[in-house]
């Protein structure tokens, strides 16, 4: 196994409140550069919680997460913003596009946040939109696109800053099986083309089967970690 890009070390997560609840128990997970890993498990297992911690949106109660060797929860707000913007891509269950921007503008946005020049951002965004098969829908707003198309725009957006790690939380949950399969195929294709490491949370066995590795979660523990034998093409 090559040098891990993500290294989750003894992560615990407890929620306070009226009924204190521990959601993650001493989770350890390493994901190698260029790997596509699926995180599966029943509802309430803590998959989203773990993903949010890796994506720096949430903090662990104890333990640490290294991405590219960097202890991300030690970063100050400014560096964290920067890190999130340049090194991480997100795909959420809901597409979460800005409704008043066109597909092209939505895809360009993270690049513009990174202060990339308008010209460069545009050519990148166009390239990515073409890769996800939306070359002819760039000028449309999210309201004018189907669920699957929106999720593809989302995918293109998450990749525009060439992140080293893509985190996807049930990217296919709102889509029908065929469209969902298409999106997963697209993810795998993009992994092959761009070498982006991916961590995908999913409920669906068919999705997990297409990845390099399946990490199974139950009640805040990793209960299984299996490597998929690539199906010969």
């Amino acid at each position: 196994m090559s040098e891990p890009i993500v290294s989750v070390e003894n992560v615990n997560k407890r929620y306070g409140g009226s009924v204190p609840l521990q959601v993650l128990f001493d989770v350890n997970l390493r994901i190698a550069q260029g790997e596509v890993a699926a995180l599966v498990g029943p509802s309430g297992a803590g998959k989203t919680t773990l993903l949010n911690i890796v994506s720096t949106l949430d903090k662990p109660s104890s333990g640490r997460v290294l991405i590219g060797g960097l202890n991300i929860h030690r970063l100050d707000q400014c560096h964290l913003n920067n890190f999130r913007n340049r090194h991480l891509g997100f795909v959420f269950q809901d597409d979460l596009l800005l409704p008043h921007l066109t597909a092209l503008e939505n895809v360009m946005l993270p690049a513009r946040v990174a202060r990339m020049s308008g010209h460069k951002a545009k050519s990148r965004a166009k390239d990515l939109l073409a890769r996800v098969g939306l070359a002819d829908r760039m000028k449309h707003c999210p309201g004018e696109l189907s669920g699957g198309q929106r999720q593809r725009v989302n995918l293109a957006r998450s990749l525009v800053n060439a992140p080293s790690l893509l985190l996807a939380d049930e990217p296919t949950a709102r889509l029908d099986t065929t469209t969902g399969a298409e999106i997963i195929r697209l993810l795998i294709d993009l992994n092959r083309q761009l070498g982006v490491t991916m961590l995908i949370v999913t409920h669906e066995r068919e999705v997990a089967d297409q990845t390099d590795r399946v990490v199974e979660f139950r009640d805040g523990h990793i209960v299984a970690d299996t490597v998929n034998i690539p199906v010969a093409a």
């Binding site: 921007l101 946005l109 946040v113």
Partner: protein
């Protein structure tokens, strides 16, 4: 290409036209109020000041110094001997309050910096009578042409010019004329302590001051000197400064150089000025109140505006947009609303004022001395309204920006 913050701000505004129109309208109304109230107030007081100073009093007046009573007595005794002092006192005393050497003084004054024109005048009390009506009045002896350079009395006369006054001519206020039932070219009897004569009413004036219109009369300077037995002396010198607000400086400068009693229009109109200052304070207070109420309203509308967009802002944060980026977006939106709202508010205010100019209000001339009245645009009011409305928008954007920056993306995106 615009920075993404500006781009997003413009998109947000154009995507919520009604929201934006509401905020613009609210701000425009606040600006209208903030421009209109002080403009009205200061137009009204400008009129009052104009009447009080420009038309009815000199900027600076040089009076003889009153001699202390003891010294006066000594002088009188020396001049007239012990026995006649009491008898002489009443008739001689005014003589010692007159200004002599006024010509040389006038020349010196005219050369003083900041002084534009100088005129001498005599002033004294008299009784006018016609038929069975008797009135106590103040008679002012002036050289109308010279005096008109110092105080703009020409405007009070029907033909807009100060009349030429012959030796037995008198110009009286219109209320006095009404009381005496006298018209131009008719005669009245005028008596002072020293003389008594019949005079022809040469002109009737309207000064805009009730008191002046009922108890003031002008005669020629030499006539006045004769009526009060003043020889060649005068009561005082009236001075016009190049600028009204130079009066204080000129007073101070003259005070050092002359051994006279020097008063300026501010001393003479202290109560009016105090009243204006109070009204200005109240107006400022009202303006700040309007701005505060508008701020609260705007902050509310703005945070609603943000509540509707929480998800977008959270997405931006998740994509690495910094808190200051969010604040920039909101401030930009506030700035756009500020510009449009302020321009609209000011334009409406100008429109209302233009309408007033062409259709002035009529007000009681008895009370105010001016028959009609319209609001004039005042630059200071516009500037103040602009600044206050900027504070309003800045405050509400800052406040809602703070709230937006505190949003936890996880909470918003995952509804936790």
């Amino acid at each position: 290409m615009l920075p993404f913050e500006l781009h997003l701000a413009c998109r947000n505004l154009s995507r919520h036209p009604w929201h934006m129109a509401g905020m613009v309208l609210g701000l425009a109304v606040a600006v209208l109020v903030m421009v209109y109230i002080p403009s009205t107030m200061s137009s009204f007081y400008d009129d009052l000041i104009d009447r009080a100073i420009e038309q009815n009093s000199a900027h600076v007046t040089i009076w003889p110094k009153e001699k202390p009573r003891g010294q006066l007595d000594k002088t009188l005794r020396r001049e007239a001997g012990d026995g006649v002092v009491l008898a002489l006192d009443d008739r001689t005393y005014p003589r010692y309050r007159d200004l002599n050497g006024q010509h040389a003084l006038a020349v010196r004054l005219a050369q003083a910096p900041g002084v534009q024109a100088v005129a001498s005048f005599v002033r004294g009390s008299a009784t006018v009578s016609r038929g069975r009506v008797n009135l106590g009045i103040t008679v002012e002896g002036i050289d109308p042409r010279e005096y008109a350079h110092v105080v703009n009395i020409a405007r009070h006369f029907p033909d807009g010019r100060a009349p030429k006054l012959g030796p037995s001519d008198i110009a009286i206020g219109f209320r006095m004329a009404q009381k005496l039932a006298v018209h131009v070219d008719e005669h009245i009897h005028v008596a002072t302590a020293q003389t008594s004569r019949v005079m022809r009413v040469k002109a009737i004036f309207r000064s805009g001051y009730y008191d002046k219109d009922i108890q003031h009369a002008y005669v020629a300077l030499s006539t006045g000197q004769r009526m009060f037995a003043m020889g060649s002396e005068v009561s005082a010198l009236a001075v016009r400064c190049e600028e009204l607000n130079q009066a204080a400086q000129v007073t101070a400068a003259l005070d050092q150089r002359l051994d006279h009693k020097i008063r300026n229009w501010m001393d003479d109109n202290a109560s009016l000025l105090a009243e204006i200052a109070t009204v200005q304070r109240v107006t400022l207070f009202i303006n700040i109140l309007v701005a505060l109420v508008a701020s609260a309203g705007m902050a509310n509308v703005f945070s609603m505006f943000i509540l509707n967009r929480q998800k977008e802002l959270a997405i931006l944060r998740a994509m690495g947009g910094s808190r200051s980026s969010l604040k920039t977006i909101l401030l930009t939106e506030a700035a756009v609303i500020w510009v449009i709202g302020t321009v609209i508010g000011c334009t409406i205010a100008l429109g209302v004022m233009a309408f007033e100019q062409s259709n002035p209000y009529t007000v009681s001339e008895e009370t105010y001395g001016i028959g009609s009245y319209a609001t004039c645009p005042k630059l200071s009011a516009f500037v103040l309204a602009g600044v206050l409305s900027a504070c309003t928008m800045g405050l509400s954007a800052w406040w809602s920006g703070r709230k937006a920056a505190k949003l936890d993306p996880v909470q918003v995106i995952f509804g936790r």
